[in-house]
Amino acid sequence: MQDLKPLDGIRVVERASGVAAAYAGRLLAAMGAEVFMAEPPEHSPLRREAPFLPGGGSALFAYLAADKRSVLCDLGDPEGREAFHGLVAAAQILIDDTPVADRAAQGLDPAGIVERHPHLVHLSVLPFGAEGPKAGWAGAEINLIHAGGEGFLLPNGLSADLFPDRPPLKIAGHFAEMQGGVTAALAALSALWSGQGQFVDVSVQDANVAIGAFAVQRYGDGAVEHRTTRSFRYGGVIECRDGFVELLTLEERQWQRLVDLLGRPDWATDPALTDSAERSARGDMINANIRAWAKDQSVADLVARAQELGVPMAPYNTPQDILEGGQETAREIFREVAMPGEGRVQIQSAPFRFGPEPLSVTRGAPKPGADQQLLMSCVPPEARRVQA
C-alpha cells in the first residue's frame, strides 16, 4: 500500500489564470487529489510566466501544474461548456478565478453552478474576493502584498539601514498570491468536510491580512508599525566573508550564548548589557561590533558553531544551497519528474508530510489538453461532439 495520499479519491476541476487559484490546486494535487486544469483554447496564461526553463517552458507553471491533468475547454462554446459541466459533475471541488464580471458569460456564476451541481464546493479565489465593494478590483502580486499590509513594512533591518529613502519592497516571487492559494485550499477542504455543497469566497487580500494579523494587533495596542522602526535592535541580516546569515536572540540565555560565540570580547561582557532593555538601547553599538566581527567568518562554520551553542542563526541559502542541502537531501524534498519539452525537472514536494516519507511528485506539468480523452469520458454520449 505504498504512496497512499490523504486526498486520494477527491477530484478537483481548476479554472485558473492566476497563481493563487493554481497554487490551491497544486497543494490539493500534492496531497493526492486528482486535479483537472480546464484550460481555455489559448491555454493557461501561467504557461507564459517567468521564470523560464532552458527549453523555454515556464518554471512557474512547471511547479504549479505538477501532478495535474490538462483538458481544453472553451466555455464560450455550448459544447465546450457541456463537457466542462460533465467534468465538474464528477468532481467534489471547482476552483475558479474568473473575474466576477466575466462569470455569467462563461456559465460560472455561483447561482448557476449551485443549481446544476448542488453537491459541489465551488471555490472562488480572487484578489479581493467575490463579494464586497472592491470585489471587481484587479490585483497583481505587488498590489496584494501592499493591500495586505506587509508590503508597507518591508524592508526592515539591514536593507532599511542601507536604503532608507527607497520605496517599500515586495517579497520575492508570488508570496502574497501563494498565501491566497494555501488559504483557499484550506477553506475548500473545510467546506468539503462539512458535507454541504457550497460557494466559498476566498480573497488574496484577506489571506494576507490574516497572516499579517500581528500588525492589526499592534494597531489595537496603539502602535502603527513602520518599516523603519520595526527592525530588531540588534542581530538580523549579518554579512560574512562568503554570504549572509540571520541572527536573532530573543531570550536571555540566547544572548549569553551569543557572547560566548563572539569570544567574550570586552564590549559584550559589559555588565550593563545583562539588562535586555539596555541591550536594545545600545543595539547600534552591538550590531556594529557583530558586523565587524562577522566579516571574517565563513557562513557554514559560523552557523554550525552558533547552533551548537544554542544561538538561533541560519544561513541565507541560495537556491543551489537548498537543492544540494544536507537537510533537504536527507528529507528528499525535491523530486525529479519528466516535463514535456524540458526533460527532467526538479519539483519541491509539499512542505508537510503525513509520515516519515515526503509526498511523492509523480507527474510533470502536462501538455495542453494532454488528458482530453478523460474529458470526453465525463461527457454524456449525447453531448459528445466536442473535439480536442
Binding site: P6, L7, P51, F52, L53, A59, Y63, G132, G139, N143, I145, H146, G148, G149, E150, G151, F152, P155, G157, S159, P168, L169, K170, I171, A172, G173, H174, F175, Q179, T183, S190, G197, F199, V200, D201, Q205, V209, A210, I211, A213, F214, V216, Q217, G220, R230, R233, G236, S276, S280, Q307, P312, Y316, N317, P319, Q327, A330, P351, F352, F354, P356
Partner: protein, 398 residues
C-alpha cells in the same frame, strides 16, 4: 448554519506564533480548540515583551483568541496523564516544540496513539522532525533564510530580506491545511496521521518556481520590485508623504489606458514604451514618467481612477487602513472582539466566506490562563471538584 469544522476538537500544545496560528485558523473554522498552558512557562503573549515595548501581558493576542484555556504542568506525571486523557477525547493534537520534546514528555505520536488510535498529530518545527538539522532552533527570519525566500527577496544591489511574522503565520496556514487533509484521510481510511510541518520547507515552497528554475541551471537573483515581463511594476510616490501607490501594468492596452488617464497620450505610441518588451528594457524611464504623474496625485483617488481604467493598483496600506476598511469589514475579514477589560478592538476574522455558514469565525478574545478548566476537566474529562482541587494543590494543574 454551523461552521465547517464544528464537532472537531483540538488538544493544542502549540506555543509562540506558527503553531498557534494553525490552531487559531482551525478554531475560526469551527473546531473546539483547547489551549494547554502552564504558569511555569507562559506563552510569549502572557509575558512582557521588551522588543515591542510591552511591560506586561498582552490584553489581546490574535493567535490565542477564540480558544479555550486550561493549565497543565507537563513536567508532572499527573499533568501528562491528564494531557493524554484530553487527547483521548480529541481529534487533533497539535504541538510546536523542538523536535523530540513531546517524546521526552511522554507525549510522542506512539504514546498518543495508545490513547487515541486515530489521532491526527500535527508537529510544527523549524526544520522538520527528521534530518541532521531537526534539532535546530528557529524563528521566522531564520525560516526565511534557510528556505531561500530571504535570499531571493531584496533590492538588486542590496542584501537578502529578513522575513517577519508573515513567515510564521504562513507555516501555520500550511499546517492547518495539512490537518484538515489528514482528517479527510481519517474519514476515508479510519487511520490517523503524523503530520510533520517544516517551517523552512514552507519558506522554500513559496519560491518553488525559482528552485525549479535553479535546478535546471537558471539561477534566479534578487530583483526588488521588478517583474521580468512587466513595466511599470512597482511602488510610486503620491502627493502625500510616505503614501505609496503600487501599480502593475499587465498589457499594452493597459499602458495605453494609463497614458490616457495621466493626460500623456503621446506616451502610448512612444516606441520606447509601446510594447511590454520595450517598457521592460526602458524600465527606469517608464518608472520616471509614471512617478511624475503619481507624485501629483491624491493617493486614494489615484488608486480608484487606475482601477476604474482597469489597471491593477492599490495603496501601500498601513494597519490603520486595514482595520477601518469597509470592504474587509463587509467580508468579515476584520471583526470587532472583546479584549481584557471589556473594551473592543479590531481583529482579523477567517479569510474566507462560506455560503453554508453564517457564523462569524471569531467569537472570543484571548482567554485568561486556565479560564475553561471547569468545562474541560469537569465536563469533558469527568473529574469531580475535589479531584480537580487536589490536582491544583499538587501542581499537576498549574
Amino acid at each position: 448554519m454551523t461552521r465547517p469544522l464544528e464537532g472537531i476538537r483540538i488538544a493544542d500544545f502549540t506555543v509562540h506564533a506558527a503553531g498557534p496560528f494553525c490552531t487559531h485558523m482551525l478554531s475560526q473554522l469551527g473546531a473546539e480548540c483547547i489551549k494547554i498552558e502552564t504558569a511555569l512557562r507562559p506563552d510569549i503573549f502572557r509575558k512582557p515583551h521588551a522588543v515591542y515595548g510591552r511591560a506586561g501581558p498582552a490584553t489581546f493576542d490574535q493567535v490565542a483568541s477564540n480558544k479555550l484555556s486550561v493549565r497543565l504542568n507537563l513536567k508532572h506525571p499527573e499533568g501528562v496523564a491528564l494531557a493524554k486523557r484530553l487527547v483521548a477525547v480529541s481529534d487533533v493534537a497539535a504541538e510546536s516544540f523542538r523536535a523530540g520534546v513531546m517524546e521526552r514528555l511522554g507525549l510522542g505520536y506512539e504514546a498518543l496513539r495508545e490513547v487515541r488510535r486515530d489521532i491526527v498529530m500535527v508537529l510544527v518545527s523549524s526544520s522538520g522532525q527528521t534530518g541532521p538539522d531537526s534539532h535546530f532552533a528557529g524563528y521566522a527570519p531564520l525560516f526565511g533564510a534557510w528556505g531561500g525566500l530571504g535570499y531571493l527577496s531584496g533590492y538588486r544591489d542590496g542584501p537578502p530580506l529578513e522575513m517577519r511574522h508573515v513567515m510564521d503565520h504562513s507555516v501555520g496556514m500550511n499546517a492547518a491545511l495539512a490537518t484538515v487533509a489528514a482528517l479527510h484521510k481519517r474519514r476515508r481510511t479510519g487511520e490517523g496521521s503524523h503530520v510533520d510541518v517544516a517551517a523552512r520547507e514552507v519558506a522554500s515552497s513559496l519560491v518553488g518556481d525559482a528552485l525549479t528554475a535553479a535546478g535546471a541551471g537558471v539561477a534566479p537573483e534578487r530583483m526588488g520590485n521588478e517583474d521580468p515581463q512587466r513595466a511599470p511594476h512597482g511602488l510610486y510616490p503620491t502627493a502625500e508623504a510616505d503614501r505609496w501607490l503600487s501599480i502593475a501594468v499587465d498589457t499594452d492596452a493597459g499602458w495605453r489606458r494609463l497614458a490616457a488617464l495621466t493626460g500623456r497620450q503621446h506616451l502610448a505610441s512612444d516606441p520606447r514604451f509601446a510594447t511590454a518588451a520595450a517598457r521592460v528594457a526602458n524600465r527606469a524611464e517608464v518608472d520616471g514618467v509614471v512617478a511624475d504623474w503619481t507624485a501629483t496625485q491624491a493617493p486614494d483617488a489615484a488608486a480608484a481612477a487606475l482601477q476604474e481604467a482597469g489597471i491593477a493598483a492599490h495603496l501601500s496600506w498601513r494597519a490603520s487602513d486595514i482595520a477601518a476598511d469597509p470592504h474587509m469589514r463587509a467580508r468579515g475579514a476584520i471583526v470587532d472582539v472583546a479584549e481584557t477589560g471589556d473594551t473592543t478592538r479590531a481583529a482579523v476574522g477567517f479569510p474566507a466566506r462560506f455560503s453554508g455558514s453564517d457564523q462569524p469565525g471569531m467569537t472570543r478574545g484571548t482567554p485568561e490562563l486556565g479560564a475553561h478548566e471547569e468545562y474541560v476537566f469537569g465536563e469533558l474529562l469527568g473529574l469531580g471538584q475535589a479531584r480537580i482541587g487536589d490536582l491544583i494543590a499538587d501542581r499537576a494543574i498549574y
